[in-house]
């Protein structure tokens, strides 16, 4: 098969495997309030929307990987009683990549945007941040860390930086309040936190183009999340912080210009068909 090696080199393949296994574990072993029907609805809508925009925007090839990651992340995080809202969330998630763009780069991490937009706009969608057991958390943590090693992803610096800042906030707060360290450790033992750290803020397509920009961005998001949790006392601080701070990324890119990211392997097919123009397209929408 053409390009099969590049498919294997794409870090998204590993991410898809991790998210899919976690979802299967959640549905069968934990009390995740999501059935096979709802999961396929979310993933199916995400893929269909990606396909539709591929046609509409005349992209050279349909690449399901990013849409699959978004769909699986939605399955793990999004909860609603309404199937229509689930479809809408998945469609908005993917559409945001194509529509909300500044200087040919999408502004929001798609899953993050879909979740926050529906939570704030409808009030009928929620995220259950604590639905993970300890076993699931540890397994997932290992898989996430494994991903960093396996993929040596070019932009894992944003994940490391965010981890460092956020841990500093949680442990610093516990020290200041004189709380036992069991409290910040407990606060970290959340699957939603891991999805956020390793799959959302790390999204190389929506983080600043330079390392300095990414570290600054990680700091801002960590501070924002801490503020939502410990000053405003609202849940979902991580998601809200990222969504509200993402519009700063174009600004950071203007102040600190750098090279745009291209998924390893993603452009191989396109390159073979029509090297120069389609490569640009792939960079834009993958």
């Amino acid at each position: 098969m053409h390009g099969s090696r590049s498919w294997m080199r794409d870090p998204r393949v590993y991410q898809i495997l991790v998210l899919a296994s976690l979802l299967a574990y959640g549905v069968f072993a934990l009390d995740f309030e999501i059935g096979a029907g709802r999961a396929s609805l979310l993933v199916g809508t995400a893929l269909l929307t990606q396909l539709a925009f591929t046609r509409l925007w005349h992209l050279p090839a349909f690449d399901p990987k990013s849409a699959l990651i978004s769909g699986l992340s939605l399955c793990l995080l999004l909860r609603t009683n309404s199937a229509a809202l689930a479809i809408l969330a998945a469609a908005i998630t993917i559409a945001s990549k194509f529509v909300l763009r500044v200087r040919n780069k999408h502004v929001f991490n798609p899953t993050n945007f879909g979740l926050v937009a529906l939570m704030l706009a409808t009030g009928r969608v929620w995220v259950s941040p604590a639905q993970w057991g300890n076993a699931a958390f540890l397994g997932f943590l290992l898989a996430c860390l494994g991903g960093l090693v396996v993929n040596r992803a070019a932009r894992s610096d944003v994940t490391y930086a965010f981890l460092a800042f956020y841990l500093a906030i949680l442990f610093g707060r516990a020290l200041w309040l004189g709380q036992p360290m069991a409290i910040p450790l407990h606060q970290l033992a959340s699957g939603a936190f891991l999805i956020f750290t390793f799959f959302m803020i790390s999204d190389p397509k929506t983080t600043p183009d330079t390392r300095a920009g990414r570290i600054l961005f990680a700091l801002l998001v960590a501070l924002g999340a801490g503020c939502v949790h410990f000053v405003l006392y609202r849940p979902n601080g991580l998601l809200l912080s990222l969504a509200f701070l993402s519009p700063l990324v174009p600004l950071l890119d203007r102040l600190l210009p750098g090279e745009r990211y291209v998924w390893r392997g993603a452009s191989a097919v396109a390159r073979a068909v029509d090297p120069a123009p389609s490569l640009r397209e792939e960079r834009r929408f993958a």
């Binding site: 029907g37 396929s40 199916g44 909860r79 929620w126 941040p129 993970w132 057991g133």
Partner: protein, 444 residues
């Protein structure tokens, strides 16, 4: 890829169609209420936007002189923000939402055979005022911000500069707070929280004539949707039991920092459970706590307050809900049949400091799906008809009884052999005492 997409969507359509709710929930038999559990506290959290009305009750049975509570609260409380509720309100709420036992009676299989179309039922006395005392208070950095007598309680709202001083003050004033509590107190102080402390005013109590302590209610406005549990764990002897009843406008409430798990429900259990439902439920709860490594909060009930099916008690009236602090009910339009816009979530947890290091934080979700802890007795049909369907039905019974025995063993951790012998299930014969009548075996 397109074929794959079609397949994915087809599965989605099938799965959504399958999730129809059961309309008929069985005849109500018994309930397992909060009184079964020792050392249980019950808390009602009425919450909408940032407004909270908190009602606290515990099963304190000792000398009222010994009773004292210290609760961190997010804001200063004026006299009108404190109220004493009737114990009966909580009892009613408990009874309404308790896990329940229901029963079905199998129909005559012969008739069912004939009428195939018929759908089968699916199954304190604070020494205050003295000048010397207030000087001492100041030296400890403790400020008595307010002092109220409400009902049978003397209540103080305290703020403090530092936790050591507060701990000393509490001990000197007869609040039996464990040494070392200052570590926990300090965290709350730094977050700007006040302390609500209460003792029983014996004179008021005898005047009022109550022999038990009534629940205390406080109303405040704060974004913090949480319950402080850490103070109570400082010197606790073993795990404690807590029931949280959340009354909200929108939907189900869950903890955001601990997993909320639905209690096993809708399981078919042997008929003898009818006589020991209380001990069944206690064992079941302990077993589930063990299975989840004591790290989860259990959902026992989630229902729109307007109705129930089957009802273990009537829904609370609009007046009762108002007394519990449901402030969004329409005062003018009295609707005696029940309440609108009130969704009840009943959470139950067993906790200690090792497994629950942090205070409970909550969020209200938009989930309005009904859930109840419900266990099913299914009485076998005992008629003597001899149609083919009846033969098949009788042949199927032993398997069903065995299944019930295994379900019960798995839910409660009870010995399956003891269960079998209680059901009169012996290897090979497997016919229960209350299944077929004794004489059916003689000539068959």
């Amino acid at each position: 890829m397109r074929r794959l997409l079609v397949a994915v969507l087809a599965t989605a359509a099938l799965a959504t169609a399958a999730g129809t709710a059961l309309a008929f929930c069985g005849f109500y038999v018994a309930k397992a209420d909060a009184k079964l559990f020792n050392q249980a506290s019950q808390v009602v959290l009425v919450r909408d936007a940032d407004r909270t009305v908190l009602t606290m009750a515990n099963d304190f049975k000792g000398d009222p002189k010994e009773f004292a509570i210290v609760i961190p609260v997010p804001t200063f409380l004026q006299r009108e923000q404190i109220h004493i509720a009737e114990r009966a309100l909580l009892d009613h709420l408990d009874a309404y939402s308790a896990p329940r036992l229901v029963e079905y009676f199998d129909e005559n299989p012969c008739q069912r055979y004939l009428e195939k179309a018929m759908a089968a039922p699916v199954p304190e006395g604070v020494a205050g005022g003295a000048l010397g005392r207030s000087a001492r208070d100041r030296s400890l950095g403790v400020t008595i911000e307010a002092r109220y007598t409400v009902g049978e309680y003397d209540i103080l709202i305290l703020s403090a500069k530092e936790s050591n001083g507060l701990e000393t003050w509490l001990i000197e004033n007869g609040y039996r707070i464990p040494h070392g509590a200052y570590r926990v107190l300090g965290g709350y102080l730094k977050q700007g929280m006040r302390f609500f402390v209460a003792k029983v005013n014996l004179k008021e109590q005898s005047k009022l004539g109550f022999t038990y302590l009534r629940p205390i209610q406080v109303a405040y406005e704060s974004p913090k949707f949480m319950l402080p549990i850490r103070l109570g764990m400082v010197n606790a002897n073993g795990p404690q039991e807590l029931f949280v009843y959340a009354l909200t406008r929108q939907g189900r409430v869950e903890t955001t920092n601990y997993r909320t798990v639905r209690l096993p429900s809708d399981a078919e259990v042997p008929l003898f459970v009818k006589d020991e439902f209380a001990s069944f439920y206690k064992s079941l709860f302990s077993q589930q706590v063990k299975r989840q490594d004591m790290r989860t909060v259990f959902l026992e009930y989630a229902w729109d307050m307007a109705w129930c099916d089957p009802c273990s008690a009537d829904p609370l009236s609009a007046d009762e809900l108002r007394q519990l602090g449901v402030f969004w009910l329409d005062r003018g339009g009295d609707n005696p049949s029940g309440a609108q816009n009130v969704f009840l979530t009943r959470l139950h947890l067993r906790y200690d400091s090792e497994h629950f290091p942090e205070d409970l934080s909550f969020q209200q979700t938009a989930d309005r799906q009904n859930f109840q802890g419900r266990f099913i007795l299914r009485h076998p049909w005992t008629g003597s008809d001899r149609c083919e369907a009846a033969q098949t039905y009788r042949r199927g019974l032993p398997k069903r009884f065995e299944q019930q025995a295994e379900t019960l063993a798995s839910l409660t951790g009870w010995d399956v052999n003891k269960i079998r012998s209680k059901m009169n299930l012996k290897a090979g014969t497997t016919v229960p005492a209350d299944g077929d009548p004794w004489w059916k075996k003689i000539w068959n």
